[in-house]
Amino acid sequence: MNRQRTAWLFLAPALLVLGVFFILPVIAALGLSLTDYDLYALADIRNLRFVGLHNYWALLHRPLFWSALGNTFYFVAVGVPLSIATSLVAALLLNSPLARIRPFFRTVLFAPVVTTVVAVAVIWRYLFNTKYGLVNYGLAEIGIHPIDWLGDPRWAMPTIIAFAVWKNFGYNMIIILAGLQAIPLDLYEAARIDGASLPRQFWHITLPMLKPTMALVAILTVAGYFQLFAEPYVMTEGGPLQSTVSVLYLMYEDGFKWWNLGTASAVAFMLFAIIFAVTTLLLRLARHDEHPAGERT
């Protein structure tokens, strides 16, 4: 019994913090999303109304919510594959026996991950400046007309995606690299003896063996990319024409700019539901793929 008490004492600080500052607010957010809590209610709680699911209903009829959702899906659907592909290429290169000074390359390629989003977003904003940015200058050298990267609704999101890929590929690169290094070398040995070419080895050994790692990486990245916020906040302020307003940006504006906490909580829960649904789906797919093939590492 004494041991039970000790265990709970050890757990107490962390559980208290998580309970008070995370679990409780999450439950409260669910409650808030069923009310029309706004500035008027903040001034006088008697102005608070219980509105049931009205906030969710209104969201579904709000074009901006749908376009924010569309922008977020665009970011995830293009950004995640690009990120993972870049990570995979970088990891394969690093894992190649031909590569020199590997620790150096690993460190350099990982460096963008530890940088502060706000600071590097500021850098990118200048690099992609229409007039004085190095990117347009370089493009002009090869005869491409200047592109209004962050001011043109068609280009703003691609620019943000490019930024996210640059910032994040190092993280997955490390995980994939570890996955590659865990593949037993004798598998390749056997393949070589059988006369399999490099692409065939990649296709029939590397990729299947890497599948669990890739699934994990995909799920983590998707969940992370759905939470797009700081990049548009610093680089475009949601513009041009709200083409970079993400779901989280919408929640921030609704909640902390206009103080419609009810609506904003509904947005937050919608985002939660979407992330939950998408990651669960990915998990299912990954498990489904894993079992019939019978490859357990």
Binding site: L39, Y40, L42, A43, A58, T130, D148, G239, F256, K257
Partner: protein, 439 residues
């Protein structure tokens, strides 16, 4: 009035607002060391943008006259000011005294965040209501209660390149929309691509709002219960505004993409620039002496002859939570003195709201200021509902979509109304249940 203006600092005038912070910082440090008398009060004062920079130079005078009061100044970027004020209110961290765009007064008054000022004014020998421009004073009264003292007035009008207009065959700036359109069309044909007759940053609502206020129809109807943006008047203003972009007489650029509009006007990239009084100082500072004769200001053209403009500007307010209201009122009185207001004008170019301040110095003689004086006679306030900031933000976002060609004028007007009605839903409920949003 919120003024999402292009950033105001360049190498030639480096980073003055940081000086303000430094001043605030060192003052704070010094006063802590100085072992002040126990009755010394520290006032927190929030000011925005250029005003924040300028007022830092006026505060030492106040502290000299009131050795028992120390002022800590915090400078907010204009783009964040509204949000910061609401957050401060929500988080119980409001300052003692603040500069407040006069269209925000209704909002903060509805939240019971502001202290009614009538008792202070009644006792004051400095702040005399009859000396203020009536239209501006009125924007500070919400349902008969006074919440702010006007600090400066502000409206939007035309800055223009006199020489370019002349070269296009026009000796005087436009007085009506028809003349204006004709001049822009003539300027459009004049020369190279990449040059435009006018600059109207698509993320600033003041331009369209100025045109809309020139119409007879009010912007909200039924006592601020519903939007009135589908009125023929607003649609006319919107059509005129959108037409300028459709005819490529203005570029589809946000002000963040035009960091230095003054130099671009100087280079002739734009012949007209619809903006506010602080630009007088910017043009004087940034254009070479040889070009100073080339630009001027003109009152805003209206649908048929000289038109109205927005009655904006900032007021000084006291917060209800402040524990130093008496001292804060002394700061308001100090900043309201005509001599201090003239000094403020010279520092930042913001125009004083009281007539006696205009009776001396450069304000009386400066030709480029006279257009503003004339325009100030024709300013109109915006609807005094707490939701106005949100509505006008929504209006501009939709209008920008129309300018980009995503919506027709009719669709845009209907969309603005739809959004305004949604924003006003809570207000309607409160009015119907006799919970007036105003205290």
């Amino acid at each position: 009035m919120k003024r999402p203006r292009p950033p105001a600092c360049t190498p030639s005038r480096p980073y003055r607002w940081w000086l303000v912070l430094l001043l605030a910082g060192t003052c704070g440090g010094l006063s802590a060391c100085r072992q002040q008398a126990p009755d010394t009060r520290t006032l927190t004062f929030w000011a925005m943008g250029n005003e924040g920079e300028a007022v830092a130079q006026l505060i030492p005078g106040f502290e000299h006259a009131h050795p028992d009061i120390h002022v800590t100044l915090q400078q907010l970027p204009w783009k964040e000011a509204h949000q910061k004020l609401l957050t401060a209110y929500a988080g119980d961290t409001t300052p003692d005294i603040a500069q407040l765009g006069n269209t925000w007064i209704a909002e903060l008054a509805a939240l019971h965040a502001l202290q009614p000022l009538q008792p202070y004014v009644a006792r004051s020998s400095v702040v005399r209501p009859d000396d203020y421009f009536a239209g501006i004073w009125a924007t500070n009264r919400i349902d008969g209660v006074l919440y702010g003292v006007p600090w400066y007035v502000d409206t939007r009008l035309l800055f223009y390149r006199r020489d370019l207009l002349k070269a296009a065959g026009f000796d005087v700036p436009p007085r009506s929309w028809t003349e204006w359109s004709r001049q822009m069309a003539a300027l459009k044909t004049r020369d190279t691509p990449g040059r435009y007759p006018i600059l109207l940053p698509t993320n600033e609502f003041e331009q369209l709002l100025s045109l809309a206020l020139q119409q007879d129809a009010p912007l909200l109807r039924d006592g601020g219960r519903y939007g009135n943006f589908e009125s023929p008047g607003f649609k006319r203003a919107l059509a005129f505004y959108v037409g300028i972009f459709r005819q490529q007489e203005a570029p589809l650029l946000a002000n963040t993409e035009v960091p230095n509009p003054w130099a671009e006007v100087g280079r002739g990239v734009y012949a007209f620039y619809l903006s506010g009084p602080w630009n007088i100082g910017e043009f004087r500072r940034r254009l070479p002496a040889a070009q100073q004769g080339d630009w001027s200001t003109a009152p805003l053209p209206g649908p048929d002859g000289p038109g109205a403009g927005i009655a904006s500007g900032s007021s000084l307010v006291l917060f209800r939570r402040s524990r130093h209201q008496a001292q804060a009122w002394q700061l308001i009185e100090y900043l309201s003195q005509p001599t201090v207001q003239r000094k403020f004008y010279e520092l930042v170019g913001d125009m004083p709201p009281r007539r006696s301040s205009w009776q001396d110095g450069t304000l009386r003689s400066d030709p480029q200021v006279q257009a503003f004086r004339e325009q100030l006679e024709r300013v109109r306030p915006t609807p005094a509902v707490p939701e106005w900031e949100r509505i006008v933000t929504a209006m501009q976002l939709v209008a920008a979509r129309a300018a980009h060609g995503e919506l027709t004028v009719d669709q845009a007007a209907a969309e603005i109304d739809r959004q305004a009605d949604a924003i006003l839903a809570k207000r309607r409920w409160m009015l119907d249940h006799h919970r007036g949003p105003q205290p």
